[in-house]
């Protein structure tokens, strides 16, 4: 558990990071530093999107797999990494 904490702390301490969410296989946020409602919303929405992206990549080439899904929006950038059924969502403010 300490490792989890330490990892998340490292990520959160990075420049520009607004929030992180760790989501389990069912789309329920396990640990987050945003408020609950926001986390739940992000988790629910991004899970579907990540699954879709992953299946797209694997449809094209079954040997391939999705590593990071980056969504660049007007205000910030959302990064989703699926692994082992878990999802790590990081929201960062890019420097302009």
């Amino acid at each position: 558990m300490a490792e989890v904490e330490e990892t998340l702390k490292r990520i959160e301490a990075h420049k520009g990071v607004i929030g992180t969410i760790v989501v389990n296989a069912e789309g329920i946020p396990i640990r987050t530093n945003l408020d609950n409602s926001t986390a739940v919303q992000y988790a629910g929405l991004l899970r579907h999107l990540t699954m879709l992206a992953r299946s797209t990549v694997r449809d094209i080439d079954p040997q391939n797999d999705l590593i990071v899904l980056r969504i660049r929006t007007k205000k910030y950038e959302i990064m989703v990494t699926p692994e082992n059924g878990f999802l790590l969502i990081v929201i960062q403010n890019p420097c302009e």
């Binding site: 558990m1 490292r10 990520i11 990075h14 520009g16 389990n24 990081v90 890019p94």
Partner: protein, 842 residues
């Protein structure tokens, strides 16, 4: 084709011997050629044309000696007999007819040549195919002379009246159809049916869902799980990498593209000038001599036409004795195509200080005079003349009274007399210094309430004058047509210097009876008296309520906005029928004679006695130390205003009443005029007393101008007006006290805005606003502190002398008692201590 000398000798066509330039033709026998081909085979010169020669129908082929090498070789062979004939026997040129006295002969009838039309005639003509049959009937003699009766009989009446051949089916001629085309179409079988559920059991049900959340223990469990640990080991690396990438650079930003704002891609001529380049200068010896220009305006629609108001240089008005010296006041129109001759002259009753084209109809011009009257012109009769200034103006001007046709060559500039002038007693009492049309999006009623403008044309004018009033005028006919006393004035003072041309009667209803709608006075805020405004500015309102109207009305409006309605037919509508517009900003900024900038509301309110009066201005701050000569709103940011006057200029933000957000440092010369650039939000131009123009760019330097164009003219600059004539042609018209107009072309660097200039400038203004607020707060704070310290000081001073006396006493007493104890202790130590109780008294 080339013929060698051997061949030439063989055939007897040596160049320049047998065949020459004069007789270049030589007929060769076909058999000879064939013989030659056979004998010499490939070496023969005729081998390339062997086939043609063999096919040649006639016996002799023509060989032509081509002295001039027109076909590129020495000889050429003519391949067809027709061509040969043509060359040998050129068609004889027709002999020219002898033009002697020809007797006109009557044409003799010639043989008719049939061209086939007779067949058609034959077809169409009616001819008898057989001889006509005729029957002769006769009766018995005794019935001679008795009337005869003829009647009709149908063939079917009698049994044997006719003989018919009926058609029958002959089996010999039956044709069996073996194949038949038929088409099929698949049509979906449609069946419409409907179902309706019956709501038998009425029960209200609703569902609401909320997201699943993990309870604490579940979360703990998962956090402990191995899978999560693996996850946390593998994932962060790439996440951190991605985060780092973001931090390093922005992949979506095109650096190269952003670099190219300085020079355009296509313009590498190397001579990109940085400063203003003189494009044209206009002056006119006849009209502009010894006059200075008070105001200049570009024609809104016609390219390259500038209107300039000329006024006398001397300030005081001379008495009537020097009437011969006083020349008529004029507004002169110049055009790019003809720099030394004015195109149109507008006659004014007096010197014009300010004028403006109507935004919805550029043929109407309103001007404000020296004596306080407002003047209207209608130049629609001369618009074609102005537009057609590309041609050399030989087109006779419409109203020349002189009928000499020879004078057409001498371009007589047409003069337009003013259509209407306001009533003298209700005009301003001093010169009108600023005139502006209200935009076509709204109009105001008699109390200053903004209401909607049905026709979407500008119908109202605002004027201001140092007689401490701002007046609103309406160019339409008022509802009550009162016959005013000034009818008699019509016969008086007809200006006979200019012969009276036909004056368009667009504004006949206003002439000499024109009264303002209402008057706004500007009482001083703190003292008595009034402000004397010189320039003003209000916010141009862009109507946003058009979307709310339904389509019919919108269509109507569209139509009417295209047709410019006749001003003489418009009437001022009653105030009740128009809907008020709530979101129009009715406040305006004005600049006064004493250098103050004020902000007031033009709506009239009712005071205690029920009369309409104008409220005191909301704020008035003295910034400039002399006359204010420009109050102009930025064309990009609607709440930023530039004012110049005295030795400095200031930028204000609407809403901040306490002061300008930017105040320039005082310069050495008087700032005479300022204007914003029309294409760059951060650039503006300031004209100076010594004839130089400063170009300020707020994003480059804020304490000094970005460029100074010194000594553009030798005299004071009186006005600067920018104009965008074409997307790549931006002009700046500069006028001075000598009556010259100079038009400069603004270089690319000054008219192409830099990236996100609007945003940067906005941010800059906000910063300045913050700074101003901070400064004011600090000032307050300092003032308070200062007051406190002063009070404190005052309080301290009367106490101090009293306090110090007492203190001194105490201190002395203490010292004395210390000394006594010390003495006691020493004496005791020395053994000399005697009871000296009585020495205690002092």
């Amino acid at each position: 084709m080339v013929l060698t000398s051997v061949t030439q000798k063989l055939f007897g066509c040596c160049a320049d011997e047998d065949v020459t330039g004069e007789s270049p033709y030589k007929l060769l026998k076909k058999d000879d050629i064939i013989q030659d081909i056979k004998t010499r085979a490939a070496v023969s010169d005729f081998s390339p044309v062997k086939q043609i020669v063999l096919d040649y129908p006639e016996e002799e082929i023509l060989l032509v000696y081509d002295r001039d090498f027109t076909y590129d070789q020495c000889f050429y062979l003519v391949l067809t007999p027709e061509a040969k004939d043509r060359i040998l026997n050129p068609p004889k040129p027709e002999t020219p007819g002898v033009l002697e006295n020809e007797v006109i002969k009557t044409p003799e009838p010639k043989e008719w040549i049939s061209l086939g039309s007779e067949l058609e005639i034959d077809e169409e003509s009616v001819k008898e195919t057989r001889e006509k049959l005729w029957y002769k009937f006769s009766r018995v003699r005794r019935k001679f002379g008795v009337p005869a009766c003829f009647s009709d009989r149908n063939t079917a009446d009698a049994k044997d009246g006719y003989l018919e051949c009926a058609s029958y089916q002959d089996s010999r001629f039956s044709i069996k159809q073996m194949q038949r085309d038929c088409g099929t179409q698949a049509v979906p079988r449609l069946q419409s049916s409907s179902a309706q559920t019956q709501w038998k059991f009425q029960r209200n049900i609703f569902t609401q869902y909320k997201p699943r959340e993990l309870s604490e223990e579940e979360a703990e469990n998962i956090l402990q799980a191995d899978s999560l640990r693996n996850f946390c080991n593998s994932v962060p690396h790439r996440v951190l990498q991605a985060l780092q990438q973001e931090e390093i650079m922005n992949v979506f930003f095109d650096d190269l593209k952003a670099l190219g704002t300085g020079a355009e891609a296509g313009d590498w001529s190397g001579k990109v000038s940085e400063g203003l380049m003189l494009y044209q200068a206009f002056t006119d010896q006849k009209y502009a001599k010894d006059k200075k220009i008070s105001s200049i305006s570009w024609h809104p629609t016609i390219y390259g036409v500038i209107a300039v108001a000329l006024i006398e240089k001397k300030e005081e008005r001379f008495s009537e004795s020097t009437a011969s010296e006083v020349r008529p006041s004029l507004i002169v129109f110049y055009s790019f195509s003809d720099p030394s001759n004015p195109q149109l002259l507008l006659e004014c009753p007096d010197d014009i200080f300010a004028f403006e084209f109507c935004p919805s109809d550029p043929n109407i011009i309103v001007g404000g005079c020296m004596n306080g009257q407002v003047v209207l012109w209608d130049i629609s009769a001369h618009v074609t003349h102005l537009q057609g200034t590309q041609s050399s103006g030989k087109k006779a001007s419409v109203n020349t009274d002189t009928f000499d046709l020879d004078d057409n060559k001498e371009n007589k500039t047409p003069v337009v007399r003013y259509c209407a002038v306001s009533a003298l007693e209700s005009s301003h009492k001093a010169r009108i210094t600023d005139v502006q049309w209200l935009p076509p999006t709204f109009e105001v009623t008699r109390t200053g309430l903004p209401v909607e403008n049905k026709h979407n044309i500008s119908v109202q004018v605002v004027t201001c004058s140092p007689d401490c009033a701002i007046m609103f005028w309406d160019v339409r006919m008022p509802k009550l047509l009162s016959q005013s006393v000034s009818d008699k004035k019509q016969n008086v003072d007809q200006k006979t210097q200019m012969s009276s041309y036909s004056v368009p009667d667009t504004f006949k209803h206003l002439d000499r009876t024109w009264k303002p709608l209402f008057r706004v006075s500007l009482p001083r805020i703190s003292t008595s008296g009034e402000y004397a405004p010189l320039k003003f500015n209000f916010e141009p309102y862009t109507c946003s309520s058009n979307k709310d109207r339904d389509t019919e009305e919108a269509d109507e409006n569209d139509d009417s906005s295209k047709i410019i309605p006749d001003y003489s037919q418009l009437r001022v509508p009653s105030a009740k029928t128009l809907t008020a517009l709530e979101d129009v900003n009715t406040k305006l900024y004005f600049g006064t004679e004493d250098g103050e900038i004020g902000y007031t509301d033009w709506k009239l309110g009712k005071d205690d006695s029920g009369r309409l009066h104008s409220a005191k201005p909301l704020s008035c701050i003295g910034i400039h130390h002399w006359l204010v000569n420009t109050v102009q709103r930025s064309p990009f940011l609607k709440d930023i205003i530039l004012t110049t006057g005295g030795w400095n200029f200031a930028i204000w933000k609407e809403g901040i009443m306490d002061g300008p957000i930017i105040l320039s440092p005082s310069s050495e010369q008087v700032c005479t005029v300022g204007c914003w650039s029309l294409s760059r939000p951060a650039v503006f131009f300031i004209g100076k007393d010594d004839g130089s123009i400063e170009v300020w760019n707020l994003l480059e330097k804020t304490s000094e101008p970005a460029q100074v164009h010194a000594h553009i003219t030798n005299a004071k600059i009186t006005s600067i007006t920018p104009w965008i004539a074409a997307p790549k042609q931006h002009f700046l018209a500069v006028t001075d006290e000598l009556g010259m107009v100079r038009v400069f072309e603004i270089p690319k660097t000054l008219y192409i805005p830099s990236r996100s200039e609007g945003l940067s400038v906005k941010k800059y203004f906000e910063l300045e606003e913050e700074r101003l607020k901070d400064y004011l707060k600090k000032e307050e704070l300092w003032a308070k502190e200062k007051k406190e310290t002063e009070e404190l000081k005052k309080k301290m001073e009367p106490d101090k002398p009293v306090k110090s006396l007492k203190e001194n006493d105490d201190v002395n007493m203490k010292e004395h008692s210390d000394y006594l104890t010390l003495e006691e202790s020493i004496l005791k130590g020395m053994g000399l201590w005697t009871a000296t109780a009585d020495t205690q008294d002092t």
